[in-house]
């Protein structure tokens, strides 16, 4: 049983969820939602899911809050008062209670919280725990399963980020010809913030690269590292202005890099097909990488694949933020 701090956190999480839905100001609601995500990631750490917690801290609490703020910044944070719509409330309440009842129905059947003998923990996952290190020489089992056993999922997951950024471009990107809208944003000329971010950004990027490269041995990997790298660019865009960050990574190059990241992943998996093995069978790379056996070839391939993921995710987060904050014009922002 894991009761203890997790129980307390779960209750807190519930309270925060209610507050973030109930509060009558969108910006506050978003900030509370960020806190909710962060507490959620503490719970997951408590349950031993450090990689998931890391991702949630970077994605849920960090970047998605920034996305929300980027949208609210250009629009409105006010919530209009609505007359009470009783029938809609009753309808939705019935629907939710129905769903909840159905879920509760299955509750009696589920194994208790933290039971190591439950079938979910013994069937397939046991095999991963026992043999992943022998077969791939990667001590972080999550990375091993993510980038090798279930690499096909991960490839499409990278595609999802790519689709998101492409879709947002498709919907939001404006032609240069359209007239500029007057925004209240003025160029950020605060010296302290500039100096501080100028000081921090290299370290953040270094840390991002470390997370990508050290994913084999510690929590982290392509997604987390990519999000951190993207966040560093977002920080530059916030502290300076969009023109400045566009000099570092232009929009066109960002899109190109986002594709290239997916191509690195998929292409790395495609090479074994040409060598007569199945897709994503990294052991075939042993023939191409000098001095590696089949096991080490898997280990190295995972690094290559994670780099691809990191590039795509970095460009994805950066691209989504830039589109949202400048409404697809890429001239002015937060």
């Amino acid at each position: 049983m894991l009761l203890g701090i997790e129980t307390l956190l779960l209750i807190l999480v519930l309270i925060l969820a209610v507050v973030s839905l109930w509060i009558r100001d969108l910006m506050s609601s978003v900030v509370v939602f960020g806190a909710y995500s962060f507490l959620m990631c503490l719970i997951w750490t408590g349950m031993g899911a450090v990689d998931v917690a890391f991702t949630e801290a970077a994605v849920g609490a960090g970047v998605s809050t920034v996305f929300f703020v980027a949208v609210l910044f250009n629009t409105t944070r006010r919530i209009q008062f609505n007359p009470l719509d009783l029938s809609a409330k009753i309808f939705s309440a019935i629907l939710c209670i129905g769903t909840g009842y159905l879920l509760m129905l299955g509750l009696s059947d589920l194994p208790s919280w933290g039971d190591p003998q439950a079938l979910v923990n013994t069937n397939v996952s046991k095999y991963y725990i026992e043999s992943a290190y022998k077969q791939t020489k990667v001590p972080n089992l999550v990375t091993a399963v993510l980038a090798d056993y279930r690499a096909f999922d991960t490839m499409f997951e990278t595609c999802v980020v790519f689709i998101a950024v492409l879709g947002i471009f498709m919907l939001l990107k404006k032609d240069g010809r359209e007239p500029l809208k007057e925004t209240s944003a003025k160029a950020n000329d605060n010296l302290i913030i500039r100096v501080a971010s100028r000081f921090m950004v290299p370290f953040i990027q270094l840390f991002g690269l470390y997370v990508v490269a050290h994913g084999h041995y510690s929590p982290g990997g392509g997604f987390q590292g990519g999000v951190i790298l993207g966040a560093s660019l977002i920080l530059v865009a916030m502290a300076f202005n969009i023109e400045f960050v566009k000099q570092l990574l232009s929009i066109k190059r960002m899109l190109l890099l986002a594709v290239i990241g997916v191509i690195i992943f998929a292409g790395w998996g495609l090479v074994p097909v040409f060598l007569g093995q199945s897709f994503l069978d990294y052991s075939a790379w042993a023939a191409l990488l000098p001095g590696t056996g089949e096991i080490m070839a898997r280990s190295h391939s995972m690094l290559a694949v994670e780099i691809g993921v990191a590039i795509t995710v970095m460009c994805g987060m950066y691209g989504i933020y830039m589109s949202l904050v400048s409404d697809g014009r890429f001239d002015k922002g937060l």
């Binding site: 605060n190 302290i192 913030i193 501080a196 971010s197 000081f199 921090m200 370290f203």
Partner: protein, 136 residues
């Protein structure tokens, strides 16, 4: 920054003698003291945020107290990870140093964020609180 230098020197000193009972005792006391202080400052911060009258004073409490208490608690974590290790090897020291690096980030990031918030508040012309009771 100075705290890092101090801590690294501390690591160097204790790395030879970590299992000595006196060293263990000192480490325990250090950990407990910094944890306790950190928690105290956190508590004070929360009280300040809740009780202070306006935006600027509240942020003052939040910015200062939060930074200091986080630093203290992280320091305690760093020392604890040293102390609880079975043997002192690369991994343990690396973990301890990583936590110290987080302290650096907090040390720079948190005051800057507070500054940005205060400036935003100032620009959007929030009236600072004045103690009318004493003036009259």
């Amino acid at each position: 920054m100075a705290i890092n230098v101090l801590a690294v020197i501390l690591f160097a000193i204790i790395s030879q003698t970590i299992h000595h009972p006196t060293v263990q005792l000192i480490l325990n006391i250090l950990i407990m003291a910094s944890l306790g202080l950190g928690l105290f400052f956190f508590f004070a911060t929360s009280v300040g945020v809740l009780r202070f009258p306006d935006f600027f004073t509240r942020l003052h409490a939040a910015g200062k107290g939060d930074t200091l208490s986080t630093i203290l608690i992280l320091l305690a974590c760093s020392l604890f990870s040293l102390k609880s290790a079975k043997t002192l090897d690369q991994t343990t020291i690396l973990a301890a140093i990583k936590i110290l690096l987080i302290i650096n980030f907090i040390f720079i990031g948190s005051p800057t964020a507070t500054h940005a918030l205060i400036e935003a508040g100032y620009n959007s012309e929030i009236d600072p609180w004045e103690n009318n009771a004493t003036r009259n």
